[in-house]
């Protein structure tokens, strides 16, 4: 598997087929005398923008703190939670988690509160 082509930036779906985000970063374990091993993917705009420039990642983290949604973000998804690991064949990464039970949905939930009082949104 080509990590950049088949894993990084791919859409992540939860077990119910709901969007959780994208694989914004891939976490590797460096092992003595053995090839590196993928241990997890990170999902969250702070790690995404940190790939462009570290200060942008820190800025997003600060914004998440200000919005009160920083806890548990970015979301680290262990490789074992990936349901179909033949990612070359898949359009997205399906994981054995529910988006609502992780901090991946925190911004979505917070944004929902901003609009929830307006009629016609649901």
């Amino acid at each position: 598997m080509d990590l950049v082509r088949d894993m990084l930036d791919k859409e992540v779906m939860d077990r119910h087929g709901r969007e959780m985000g994208r694989a914004d970063s891939v976490v590797l374990e460096i092992r003595q005398g053995a090839p590196p091993r993928v241990v997890a993917i990170d999902v969250g705009p702070s790690v995404l923008l940190a790939r462009v420039a570290m200060f942008l990642g820190r800025w997003v983290t600060g914004l998440e703190h200000a919005l009160g949604i920083a806890e548990g973000r970015p979301v680290r998804i262990p490789f074992e939670e990936i349901l179909d690991q033949e990612l070359e064949q898949e359009d997205h990464i399906k994981v054995d988690l529910a988006a609502g039970e992780t901090a991946a949905a925190a911004l979505e939930s917070r944004a929902r509160t901003w609009f929830s009082g307006i009629p016609g949104g649901s």
């Binding site: 950049v4 930036d9 859409e11 709901r18 790939r51 979505e108 901003w114 609009f115 929830s116």
Partner: protein, 404 residues
Amino acid sequence: MSAIVDLILGVVTSIGGFVEVGSISTSAQAGSEFGFELLWAVAAAGIMLAMLVEMGGRLAAVSKRSLAAAVRERFGIDFQIVPLSAEFIVDVLLLAAEVGGAAIAVKLLTGIGFQWWILPIGVLAWLVLWTCGFAVIEYGIGILGLVTLCFVVSAWKLGPDVADLGKSFVPTLSTHHHLRYAFLAVSIVGATVSPYLLNFYSSGTIEEKLKVEDLWVNTTTAYVGTMFGTVVSMGVLVSSAMVLGPRQIQVDSYEQAALMLVPAFGRWAIGLFAVSLGIGCFGAAVEIALNAGYVFAQVLGAPWGANKPRLSASRFTAAFTFVLLLSLAIALIGFDPLRVTMICVALTVVVMPAMVLPFLVLMNDDKYLRDHKNGPFRNGFLAVLTILGALLALVVIPLEIFGG
């Protein structure tokens, strides 16, 4: 049957939604200052747009990914941040210009200063985005936009010399004001090939669930719709050339541009121009804001879609709300909407290579296009457009300074 209905609606929408603040201002200026001479630029820009839009639709129909999503996956954020940031700046400014254009249209109808209408128009745009599904937004505004055909009727009634029109489709150098001529030619391209249109069209293809076997609908809509839409832009240019040019009226405000319809429509002219400008700009404003929501959600992998309840795609909703608010703030500062428009079209040309280059790779990628990849002709077009875009990007700012 459904494909035929989609096709008809798509073409009608392309005609009604083609003319907006950029195309009206650049075509009106080109006509008043250079007669029919720049018709070739309108035609060339229309061909470029049709080909890019067709590719965006094909990419979406086959890969089930919008342009923004495909660029994120294929190139990563390190590359995408460049076109994304550029498109964000252009879109926010263009949205401010569209809202300003719609406000000027209401001013023409009511006589009350345009600044007073910016906020109500912004609120109305948001309400449309909050309450309407994709079909209502796209087809509703497109059908209302058919009023812009008044420019074609005007050009027809003015009776231009067919031989003169025919000659104007061959690119030539102007006999006077070379820099201004070059600037307007480049601006017409910038006004027509707006970056937001490409992702908006590919997202719309997904919203409408276009199937691979119905790709011919996408191709026909892109080419026929854009061709007829281009005819509306040409109607603006020809009317301006035949009415404003001989009277030495240079278009430095929309109020002056409105005069081009007077010989054809008499006392209805200003009202017709105002309604055309208003609907064109309002429709474009709604589409630009909606596309901002699309891009933000697609890049982050969040739920999106104008057919989803807004609270179940709340980041998408927050993104279009934020961009609309930002643009309203800029529009309220009181910049002349026509000036903002001309800056936008120049900036569009600057970012064009970064917008077109990904197409060249994506449209030849088996993973995304399977059996529907580009052939040599379309690849050649993209290569020429990328090189031409890079050259135009280099010259457009000097042209804006010296010829704008």
